[in-house]
């Protein structure tokens, strides 16, 4: 069996009195598309944030490629997120002051690439995601569907091993949602990247290789083929 790329074991996390995770454990295989399903407040986004090193659990451990992620310093976790992880959120994925091409180039610029090289690669990704026509537009000048495709380009431009997508189609109509998913899944599979996808939409979860239902901060059921 392939070694998992990401593992979480017995994660517990509370926000004040409110428990968000209570014993969640999960593995993500290399190249796997995993959907986390569950009602609002079930803990699925919190689990995604712990897997991505954005949140640190109160208890339990997260491992990425065999090494502890949850005990790294803030700086090292940030570095890992820049280099190995990509992110797509429902809202606010893009920096509003930057154009589409500048947004997509941002992860490369932060990793030390020169502006010209970074923007050339960003443009290639915008073309691939069929939004090259909005390259010079800012987030506020694009439609929701265009903005999410730009966000997908930004998530993938640096060649991440894992893309974390939290309700990536939640603000889109069904047709644009489908287009974003087709492009996200297609590009990630081509690169061999894993995807951890949080969604409450079964049609979106159906793009995954495996669906996991989160209830009350822990895994309630797993659906495999």
């Amino acid at each position: 069996m392939t070694e998992p790329l990401l593992t979480a074991r017995d994660l517990h996390l509370s926000f004040g009195e409110s428990s968000a995770l209570s014993g969640a454990s999960i593995d993500v295989a290399p190249g796997e598309v995993l959907a986390l399903l569950g009602p609002s407040g079930s803990g699925k986004s919190t689990l995604l944030h712990c897997l991505a090193g954005i949140l640190v659990p109160d208890r339990g451990e997260v491992r990425y490629r065999g090494s502890r992620l949850d005990s790294l310093s803030d700086d090292l976790r940030s570095e890992l997120r820049r280099g190995d992880f990509g992110f797509v959120f429902q809202f606010g994925s893009l920096v509003p002051e930057l154009t589409a091409v500048e947004n997509v180039a941002l992860p490369l610029r932060l990793s030390g690439h020169k502006r010209r090289t970074a923007e050339a690669r960003a443009l290639e990704w915008l073309e691939r995601l069929e939004v090259a026509d909005v390259a010079r537009k800012r987030a506020g000048e694009m439609s929701g569907g265009q903005g999410q495709r730009v966000a997908v380009a930004r998530a993938l431009v640096a060649g991440p091993r894992v893309v974390f997508a939290d309700e990536p189609t939640g603000a889109l109509d069904s047709l644009n949602g489908e287009l974003v998913m087709d492009l996200l899944i297609g590009a990630a599979r081509e690169q061999g990247a894993s995807i951890v996808l949080v969604t409450h939409e079964p049609r979106i979860a159906a793009y995954a290789d495996r669906e996991v239902v989160i209830r009350d901060g822990a895994l309630a059921a797993t659906v495999t083929a």
Binding site: P39, P202, R203, A205, A206, Y207, V213, A221
Partner: protein, 174 residues
């Protein structure tokens, strides 16, 4: 809608005579399509022939003679199988799922498990349909979308029901 299993489920909760059974069925599941008395007795006859129910006794409560039926061990086994097996995703599934959930709660079974099994069945089918859309002609894609949207509607109902199970359990128990 599986009338035989629904009647069997009601008999598992407690032994009943035919009229009482019809009344319970109509109250929970037959608001739009109440059972005809003949249908109740014909179904009871078949369930008795198959060994799933037995006649518990005959009595009179100020009216005509009434035969009381009770579920047998074979009947409970058949119900166990019915609860455990998710329904094949199909159109107009909601009435049978609703019956399963209500009867699971009434008989003390795990209704969450019934919903989880059904969700899994639906998701596997939806995943297969989604994969088949890749590279297909548009008319085929639209046909697959039609099926996907209907399955999603079922799943939304499942999630909605799962979120209200506690209240439903309280109402079913009262």
């Amino acid at each position: 809608m599986s009338v035989p299993h629904t009647l069997l489920g009601l008999l598992e909760v407690r032994a009943r005579h035919g009229y009482d059974l019809k009344r319970a069925y109509d109250a929970h599941f037959g608001q739009d399509r109440p059972l005809k008395p003949g249908q109740v007795y014909a179904t009871l006859g078949r369930l008795e022939r198959d060994g799933f129910v037995v006649v518990r006794g005959t009595g009179r409560e100020g009216g005509p003679d009434r035969t009381t039926y009770a579920v047998t061990a074979e009947g409970v086994t058949d119900l166990d199988r019915w609860f455990a097996e998710p329904e094949g995703p199909a159109a107009y599934l909601q009435p049978v799922l609703f019956a399963k959930v209500v009867l699971a709660l009434q008989s003390g079974r795990d209704a969450v498990q019934v919903l989880d099994a059904q969700r899994a069945e639906h998701l596997v089918t939806m995943r297969d349909l989604t994969a088949r859309k890749s590279g297909a002609d548009l008319d085929r894609v639209l046909g697959l979308d039609f099926a996907l949207f209907h399955l999603e509607a079922d799943l939304r109902w499942l999630e909605h029901t799962a979120a209200r199970l506690e209240r439903l359990a309280a109402e079913v128990a009262s």
